[in-house]
């Protein structure tokens, strides 16, 4: 009995061994199906919905082809100003995160000893274990007029920025920092120490080494990190509604269009804005050649 099963099993593996293409097909079917369904179909559905219309009273989506949603999104001043604000915030968050992540990652990868290094990696990862909402609401408390931030800066004559764009930038920078540190840290790990020694040996002072050797080599990792912080910020609407005061970002427009206006097509059209921006960003990055090294 068991002999037969084992023979059968052997013959199956032997069969698969001889038929490499079939083996590959079996291996890839599930992930490819997933990729196709989740990424392509979902994106395509979104794209298509943007060209439909909605019954404004009942909120029913009707399949009636129109460019109105796209036109609205492209021409309405609210979309233009909110897009500008969102991109501005995303760029600012990305720059802040990169500026913070570079020294932290450098310290982790090249300065700290093995034990400290492990502790730092855990410290960077720990905030990821906490809920997004908990972190965002923590910042709401920290930045409130009588919060920790005000308490810290009041002795030196500062005050809390209150709820608004600065608070949003602070909160989002905090939220996405681990996503920027980790790829840069991984990228630095791949830079051999001998390159830094060599640069120094050839007469480069530390800052020069960072500029001429470390940063160019880290460029793909920095780009990878920036894609995280940039695209996550572009799509965010929760942080700004918690600490952003009266401001709204693209995500809020999408959310209002779905939640308040029940206008899924318009929401889909609005959602195309961040997608388009990310595409432009990736294309720009691609032109610099950074993606070749990824």
């Amino acid at each position: 009995m068991s002999a037969t099963t084992s023979t059968r099993r052997h013959s199956v593996s032997a069969f698969l061994f001889e038929h490499a293409r079939l083996r590959l097909a079996l291996l890839l079917t599930a992930p490819l199906f997933w990729l196709g369904l989740v990424y392509i179909v979902a994106l395509a559905a979104l794209l298509v919905t943007a060209f439909w219309t909605v019954d404004s009273f009942t909120g029913e989506v009707r399949i009636e082809w129109t460019l109105d949603n796209i036109v609205t999104v492209l021409t309405a001043s609210v979309y233009q100003s909110v897009t500008l604000r969102t991109v501005g915030i995303a760029l600012l968050v990305t720059v802040i995160d990169i500026l913070l992540a570079l020294p932290i990652a450098f310290f982790m990868a090249k300065v700290a000893g093995p034990r400290l290094q492990r502790a730092l990696v855990i410290a960077v990862l720990t905030p990821l274990w906490a809920s997004y909402l908990v972190k965002a609401y923590s910042w709401r408390t920290v930045l409130s007029p009588e919060g920790l931030f005000a308490w810290l800066v009041e002795p030196i004559g500062g005050s809390s920025p209150g709820y608004g764009i600065p608070a949003t930038v602070i909160t989002l920078s905090y939220l996405w920092l681990p996503y920027v540190i980790l790829p840069i840290y991984a990228g630095l790990e791949r830079v051999p120490d001998s390159l830094l020694d060599a640069s120094s040996d050839l007469g480069a002072k530390p800052w020069r080494t960072v500029r001429s050797v470390v940063l160019p080599l880290l460029y793909p990792a920095v780009i990878a990190g920036s894609i995280f912080s940039f695209s996550l910020t572009l799509g965010d609407y929760i942080a700004v509604s918690i600490v952003g005061g009266a401001n709204q970002m693209l995500g809020n427009l999408v959310y209002t269009n779905v939640g308040t206006a029940n206008n899924l097509p318009l929401a889909a059209a609005a959602a195309l804005i961040p997608i388009a921006i990310i595409m432009v960003y990736l294309a720009a990055v691609r032109r610099t050649g950074a993606l070749d090294n990824l």
Binding site: V71, V78, S144, P145, Y163, S241, Q248, N252
Partner: protein, 392 residues
């Protein structure tokens, strides 16, 4: 350019409504012309199901878990055996999404939502003969545009109240009597003004304009033609400069007033009741206010219609209605309920004339609610677009 764009989409929306109305009319056999497609209401009730799922404003379905002394769900469960599951929503728009996703038997809907639920065929007409406590409900709450269609009730009135003006007594002095503190005088509290985060808040501006700019000729804050809407939008855009944050989540407003982030703005009585710092006060300003008159409705695809009817009857009973409306801070739906409350005076319960002063939330539609036929009014989708533009 922008305006032109709105007009075009407005026209399109009007067209859309007309076509849907035509469609529903065709598909409806016996119901009213604007009614849902589900036909006549139930004639009789069967046995109670095991559970009932309720979608409501916060504070409407209290089972003692927030405050052990506040519990009107447990007696209902004991009486009927229907286990209650409650879900709270923050805005009428959120409730509409949730209702569309299905899974709820009963919904407590404000006037800016009810007609959308009816038009979307998400709720069913209600046979009030099966609800003994309906009889006690104030007459001035029955057969209103936001709870009935062509005389056919779509639910049971619950309670009503006004969107009040809340202020921080340390900062806003003397005590305000007008909405001007959040509009023309908002600069005095710049960065600490708050407002309700929903397109329906445009009606608050319209109420203010009714008193301060009579030349606009606003008769009903939910029936605004394009000029009137533009005036309201301008007012709100000016207000926007001084808004600290908008609130859609009542917990967020509680925290904002407690921490001093907001010092003046619209609120509900229940928020004032929840604030523990003691330095806030609420007032119904002289211009009047928008408000709500909520209706308990039954989902058209309710899985537990018998429990749903039982809940509608129960929550209209004097004792339960008194408990629920007192907790939320609104007037009850019947004079009998006032016997279980000692604060009916404060809410002007039963005062039909006062009740008329509150502009209950209604869904703005193209067909002007104030009866004008010479112009087309702006509908909710235009309000939504306007609201997004105001927030900027």
């Amino acid at each position: 350019m922008r305006r032109l764009n709105f007009r075009r989409s407005g026209a399109l929306v009007g067209l859309a409504i007309a076509s849907v109305a035509a469609l529903t009319a065709c598909g409806t056999a016996g119901g009213g012309s604007g009614g849902g497609a589900s036909g006549a209401p139930t004639d009789e009730l069967g046995d109670y199901e095991d559970a009932v799922s309720i979608l409501a404003w916060p504070g409407y379905v209290e089972d003692g878990s927030n405050d052990p002394d506040v519990d009107w769900v447990t007696p209902f469960e004991e009486e009927t055996g229907c286990q209650v599951t409650a879900k709270y929503y923050g805005t009428s728009d959120e409730a509409l999404s949730l209702m569309k996703s299905g899974g709820y038997d009963v919904v407590a809907a404000s006037g800016d939502l009810t007609l959308r639920l009816v038009a979307g065929d998400l709720v069913q007409p209600v046979n009030t003969d099966l609800i003994p406590n309906y009889e006690n409900v104030y007459d001035f709450l029955k057969d209103k545009s936001w709870n009935s269609v062509d005389g056919q009730p779509y639910g049971v009135p619950h309670g009503y109240g006004a969107n009040l003006l809340m202020y921080n007594t340390d900062v806003v002095q003397p005590a305000p009597t007008s909405w001007d503190v959040v509009f023309d005088r908002a600069a005095e509290f710049s960065g600490k003004v708050t407002a309700y985060d929903s397109p329906i808040y445009i009606a608050d501006a319209a109420v203010y304009l009714m008193a301060h700019k009579p030349e606009l000729g606003i008769e009903n804050p939910y029936a605004l033609d394009e000029t009137q809407l533009a005036a309201a939008v301008d007012l709100l855009k000016a207000q926007r400069q001084h808004i600290g944050e908008y609130w859609g989540d009542y917990l967020k407003e509680i925290q904002a007033f407690e921490s001093g982030t907001s010092v003046v703005g619209t609120t509900w009585q229940v928020i004032q009741n929840s604030i523990t710092t003691g330095n806030t006060e609420v007032v119904l300003p002289e211009e009047g206010a928008t408000g709500w008159s909520d209706t308990w409705m039954i989902a058209s695809d309710a899985e537990a219609p018998n429990c749903a009817y039982a809940w509608l009857n129960y929550i209209a009973s004097p004792e339960a209605n008194a408990a629920a409306t007192q907790y939320f801070g609104e007037a009850p739906s019947s004079q009998e309920a006032c016997e279980f409350r000692d604060d009916c005076e404060a809410y002007h319960a039963g005062d039909a004339e006062y009740a008329e002063q509150i502009w209950y939330w209604s869904t703005p539609i193209a067909e002007c609610l104030d009866g004008r036929t010479d112009v087309q009014c702006t509908d909710y989708s235009q309000w939504t677009a306007a609201w997004q533009e105001i927030k900027g």
